[in-house]
């Protein structure tokens, strides 16, 4: 950051005291007072752990078709009479282990969710600060674009961007670029909400006296925006971003379910659900159900954390 405080801090002792302060803070108390939030945090951690350590937790490599054996296909979960102890949640039509596929799929879902929210923030936050700070025609232009984009559902925008890149990038190239394209399309589809929140925060902060004092100090506009306004408006934005991660995961799953997301060779949760969807009526319910449960749990957990953050950091609700 540009205006990084230059005051020296005795880092080690400060770290200890700040850890203690965090554990003793109102936020920590309200966190531990809400069992649903604690559970949600644990579930989220579990999913993150699963995604990060997937190669350690399972010996299967569901993304590598050469290791798959079609003879292993359609094995039901282990508690079924025909189950196989080496495939806890059974296998799909390609002989992929469902549990392993969920782990690797969670990885893709989380990467896409986090990165696309990051991209939205990177677009939305600067635009929000600039339009709130300068006002006038810059504000009008940016906010009308945001308004127009908000009238179109994010899924449609993501579909459009995905479709365009599909025609631009030829076959194979598109498959390798699938994840960046997803991130790009979801990220572009959801910047307006961050821009709006940041703008309204900026409008409040801009009229406070410390900004006038910064003007008196001859701080240039970019430094006022980055040094003063950004740190003061970013809190509520990050809270929304948490819920945004859950939304982005859903959008990714929807796109993949529709078949325009990640390719079936490297399935995300949405792709797995779509693959399994074809076999629900023929009795192979597990292929679709377990990725579904994983997706619901993950999104619900992230959403609960987001809700809790919003309630805790919104003084009006306290």
């Amino acid at each position: 950051m540009l205006m990084k405080p230059e005051t020296e801090v005795g880092s080690h002792r400060h770290l200890l005291t700040s850890v203690r302060r965090v554990l003793d803070s109102d936020v920590a108390h309200s966190f531990f007072a809400s069992p649903a939030t604690v559970l949600a945090a644990l579930v989220t951690l579990l999913f993150v752990f699963m995604a990060v350590f997937a190669p350690v937790l399972t010996s299967y490599t569901p993304f590598n078709p050469s290791t798959l054996d079609l003879m292993d296909s359609f094995i039901p979960p282990v508690w079924d009479a025909n189950g196989d102890p080496s495939h806890l949640l059974g296998t799909d039509d390609q002989g992929r282990d469902v549990l392993a596929a969920i782990m690797y799929g969670t990885r893709i879902s989380l990467i896409v969710g986090l990165c696309s929210v990051l991209l939205s923030l990177l677009i939305g936050v600067p635009l929000g600060i600039v339009s709130g700070y300068f006002g006038g025609w810059i504000d009008s232009v940016v906010m009308r674009i945001a308004d127009i984009q908000l009238t179109i559902p994010p899924i449609l925008i993501a579909l459009m961007i995905d479709g365009v890149t599909r025609t631009v990038l030829a076959g194979n190239l598109h498959e390798t670029a699938a994840i960046p394209v997803l991130i790009l399309s979801i990220g572009i589809a959801s910047w307006p909400q961050y821009a709006r929140v940041v703008r309204s925060g900026t409008l409040v902060e801009r009229n406070k006296d410390y900004i006038a004092a910064a003007h008196m100090a001859q701080s240039p506009p970019y430094r006022i925006m980055i040094g003063h306004i950004l740190p003061n408006v970013i809190g509520p934005t990050l809270v929304i971003a948490t819920i945004g991660v859950a939304v982005a995961i859903i959008i990714e799953a929807t796109l993949s379910f529709l078949g325009v997301g990640v390719p079936p060779t490297s399935p995300s949760l949405g792709t797995l659900i779509r693959i399994g969807n074809d076999y629900v009526f023929s009795g192979e319910w597990w292929i679709s159900l377990f990725p579904c449960l994983a997706l619901v749990m993950l999104v619900l957990a992230v959403n609960l954390i987001g809700d809790w953050l919003r309630d805790t950091f919104n003084p009006k609700l306290r």
Binding site: P5, E6, K208, D209, Y210, A213, H215, M216, S219
Partner: protein, 335 residues
Amino acid sequence: MTPGLKNSSILELNNLEVHFDVSDPIVTRILSRSPRKYVKAVNDIDFSVARGATFSLVGESGCGKSTLARCVAGLISPTKGDISFNGSSITGKKARDRNSILRRMQMIFQDPYSSLDPRWRVGDIIAEPVRSMKVYDSRQEIIDRVDELLVQVGLNPRDKNKYPHEFSGGQRQRISIARSLSVAPEFLICDEPTSALDVSVQAQILNLMSELQEALDLTLLFISHDLAVIDHVSDRIGVMYLGRLCEIASKRELFETPRHPYTRMLIETIPDVRGRKRDRKPIEGEVPNPLDPPPGCVFHQRCPLANERCKREVPVLITKDGSQIACHAAEEGRG
């Protein structure tokens, strides 16, 4: 110091006007055929501040005194008129020219809670002006300066690592003062620096400011609605009403022989512990809407001395026995 001499005045305002455009959005305006609307926050202001002295502006809420202060500070640009600082005009200056002005002119704000960035450490808050204006070359010099300033305003150098929320209102105002003094200005605009504080803390801050004024040879433009505070700090006082100056006089003259009817009314309102049951005349009526100020003298609707002329003709500031007054009644010797 001899106030009144031309060459000794540090700040001069000539015909200063600040109008705010509060018109409806253009579409609404066209549809309802309403004209543009302006709030005339500051009108026709003329005064000068003598070097080393304290000039105070007093008036009710909404009379334009804060707007005037912000205009002098350059935070708002005037609609008309001219401000000269140290003999040269500073209105419409480009940013790089303002640098040299702002090193000599700083401001203290009213609300000690919103005037300090809650996310910044006190040391960084105080050092912001010297860093932005590049007063010092090395970091050590800045740190030394911050320590010196903290001691100067009665705080501890260790406080520079704390955040504003760890301080009381009075301490925050001290931090604000330290920030404004960091570039060693000669002119300080104080926009109601004590009105958000407890009375006991007010006295401390006012005493601190008097000490600093003495020690650093500061000139103050002091804004307040509190006559007791004004009485404590001022050398010369300007009374404002609805964006206009009614009277400018030395402190003694103003409090002993107020001549403008509005000044008299204000002084009537000062609470008095000794006088048992004083027959107070309450100020009648309310301040008119600045969107639609009355014609003639803006005070005539509430003035006991108003006559036909007051309703038609806007009084101008005239100099009389060393003080200035804008009142037809006083000019004609009525009342």
